[in-house]
């Protein structure tokens, strides 16, 4: 069934179709409408779910964790300050290997205070051990959330998943979204209970762990996160069998075959970059695009494979790791390390909602082509559009 939905509505429908059993969330702009929509589903009886009306984002994730440990499928929504406030709980959820799914409606972190989009909130949580997926449009928000439950709950993974989309650009902008049938989703996403806190099988969870065990747990956790990249490909393929929509695995290339300069982006910039690539191709430029769908685990092998034939790479970062540059650029450089002389040009742009249009991306492309032609060494990173 096709409907005109904004990103938040798409996320809420995904939660309904996934038959989430516990929703624990605290209202935050611009994510709050997801919570309102789901509580509306609960009120009208189209979703059987217990809503825990927590007093903070910290408690939201704590409650979702408790619910998942007690065997329920749990969901929540947050962003920005709320995500930062959850930080220590994020580590508990991943360390305990609990498949909580969270929609993150990306928004800039204060100070200065901002209500507008960028990826700084989720990039700040890069080390927390969650799978981090980015979506370029509202259909992908719905589809990725459904895939997130299956991915996180997979026996080989058993990890929490964040599904990212941008505030306002996606959360409040309507697009046509195709909703799969409930029955089909139920087959794709069967409810399997694996309670950790179970009176019939009592376990002590998160006991004090000394040096003789801690690092081994961490090895297993990291190995599981790495496996998530492989399982994502399987899940995407299975989902394509259900709906005909295949968002690919960790990365997807666009017009890469003979591309000389490849733009690399995550989130809503991907759609803009696709149009920019078409515009550049129309005037004879050998432009290409690499969409990074999976930020954690970072798919370095897939990135290397996709970019092997390129002359240069342009990282478009809607985030700044202060004093270090863009997170995507850093990952690309690390992932491409050893690949001869592949230069990575790094641009910081669009922070706090600063608009980035097709012309901005074609302009960046031309700047890079000139620098490449002049044989200059790429700067560690540069700001665009100040």
């Amino acid at each position: 069934m096709r409907q005109l939905l904004n990103g938040n509505e798409a996320a809420a429908h995904a939660a309904r179709l996934a038959r989430v059993e516990v929703l624990a969330s605290y209202p935050i702009t611009p994510a709050a409408p997801v919570m309102e929509k789901i509580t509306q589903f609960i009120a009208e009886g189209s979703l059987k779910c217990n809503f825990v009306r927590v007093e903070s984002d910290h408690s939201a994730l704590a409650a979702a964790l408790g619910a998942t440990m007690a065997g329920a499928r749990s969901f929540l929504i947050t962003n920005s300050q709320g995500l930062a406030y959850m930080s220590e709980v994020l580590y508990h959820v991943s360390g305990l290997r609990q498949p909580v799914v969270m929609a993150v409606v990306n928004r800039a972190l204060a100070a200065p205070h901002s209500r507008f989009p960028e990826h700084g909130d989720v990039v700040a949580q890069e080390a927390c051990g969650w799978v981090q997926l980015f979506c370029e449009n509202n259909q992908e928000v719905l589809d990725s959330l459904l895939q997130a439950f299956r991915l996180g709950e997979d026996e080989r993974v058993r990890l929490p998943v964040m599904v990212n989309y941008e505030g306002y650009i996606q959360s409040h902008t309507r697009e046509t979204v195709d909703l799969p049938e409930q029955e089909a989703v139920a087959n794709f996403l069967p409810l399997v209970r694996r309670p950790v806190l179970d009176v019939n099988n009592p376990l002590a969870v998160n006991t004090v762990t000394g040096p003789e065990l801690y690092i081994d747990y961490k090895y297993q956790q990291d190995a599981a996160l790495q496996r998530a990249g492989e399982v994502l490909q399987e899940v995407s393929t299975a989902y394509a069998g259900l709906t005909g929509r295949d968002w690919g695995g960790p990365v997807t290339g666009y017009r890469l075959e003979d591309a000389a300069i490849v733009l690399v982006a995550m989130g809503s910039l991907v759609s803009t970059a696709r149009i920019a690539v078409d515009a550049l191709r129309a005037v004879g430029e050998k432009a290409g695009l690499l969409k990074v769908r999976l930020f954690r685990p970072f798919p370095a092998a897939a990135v290397r494979e996709s970019l092997r034939a390129a002359e240069a790479v342009v990282a478009l970062d809607k985030n700044i790791v202060y004093g270090a540059g863009g997170a995507l650029a850093r990952e690309l450089r690390a992932g491409l390390y050893g690949l001869a002389t592949m230069p990575v040009y790094s641009y910081i742009l669009g922070l706090g909602g600063r608009d980035v249009g097709v012309e901005d991306l074609t302009s960046i492309y031309r700047q890079v082509r000139e620098q490449l032609g002049a044989g200059t060494t790429p700067a560690p990173y540069q700001w665009y559009g100040l």
């Binding site: 007093e55 704590a62 007690a70 220590e88 006991t207």
Partner: protein
């Protein structure tokens, strides 16, 4: 419900067993052991950062015979809320869900999630085992550390009075509220029995001395807990739907001086301060007992 009326009738089964990592004379371990006698095996407990979160297990060993989760400091009542929501959606009705925190996990760093859960009238039991200091990190002062108590970070005595946590929790109108003491095990066990029968948010505050923090000998834990009741500083009562019932009337009233002078932490209190505290205790005793 048949209340356990003699120590001989207390179930022998231990759900918090021997071999735990608590100090000899640990008031917190006593409180848990007694409470578990009433709560029984169909209980899920979550305990935030505290001595109690660590002494029940280490590495691959545990003293717990029930599901136990060592949660983050701020959020045991929120975790318990999530557990309850999950059990409800699965139709599991006969499990006690308990968040069990120290004074910091209840009144200070954990207060936000506690007041949230209490306001929502979550169907959980929150327990505060109160040793009146941040004992897991060496005994620093917190908001319900008594006035003038000497701690590592209040070496001249704590400059502010203890926050009235019971009044704060009573203001949430819980379904059940009680005070308890490790020196009165039958009273404590009966209160957990009642709490287990009642639906809604339940709050039990247990005075559980820590010999180290209090500057007493390890064999004086129960003695001091009893003296706290006998001097009237710690009164044992319960409130159901806001109606208070005193459950233990001390057989003899002793001056607070006798209680204070046994402890190292009140060594800087002078007679004037003790007299002022005595007056306050007398006033409060009248108020509660009447």
């Amino acid at each position: 419900m048949e209340l356990i009326n003699s120590l001989a009738d207390v179930p022998e089964t231990e759900l918090f067993t021997g071999g735990h990592g608590g100090c000899r004379g640990c008031g917190a371990a006593l409180a848990v052991r007694q409470a578990m006698k009433a709560l029984g095996p169909r209980t899920i407990i979550t305990i935030p950062a505290s001595c109690m979160a660590t002494i029940g297990g280490s590495g691959l060993s545990t003293a717990w015979e029930i599901p136990f989760y060592h949660s983050l400091f701020e959020c045991a009542p929120a975790v318990a809320s999530g557990i309850r929501a999950a059990l409800d959606i699965q139709g599991i009705k006969d499990v006690n869900v308990v968040s069990w925190a120290g004074d910091a996990g209840t009144a200070d760093i954990g207060f936000q999630s506690l007041t949230g859960a209490a306001e929502r009238q979550e169907n959980i039991i929150h327990v505060c085992y109160d040793n009146e200091t941040y004992m897991n990190t060496g005994g620093q002062a917190g908001s319900i550390t008594p006035y003038l108590a000497v701690t590592p970070d209040t070496p001249g005595g704590k400059p502010t009075p203890r926050k009235d946590m019971l009044a704060i929790m009573a203001a949430h109108h819980p379904a059940y509220l009680a005070t308890a003491s490790v020196a009165y095990p039958l009273d404590l066990i009966q209160k957990f029995q009642k709490a287990g029968e009642i639906q809604g948010f339940r709050y039990i505050h247990i005075l559980a001395p820590c010999f180290k923090g209090w500057g007493i000998r390890e064999d004086q834990t129960v003695q001091l807990a009893r003296l706290a009741v006998e001097c009237g500083l710690w009164q044992l009562y319960e409130e159901i739907d806001g109606r208070r019932r005193v459950t233990v009337i001390p057989e003899r009233r002793i001056p607070v001086r006798e209680y204070l002078r046994l402890q190292g932490r009140f060594k800087t209190m002078d007679e004037a301060a003790i007299a002022a505290l005595q007056a306050e205790v007398d006033r409060r005793f009248q108020e509660v007992q009447s």
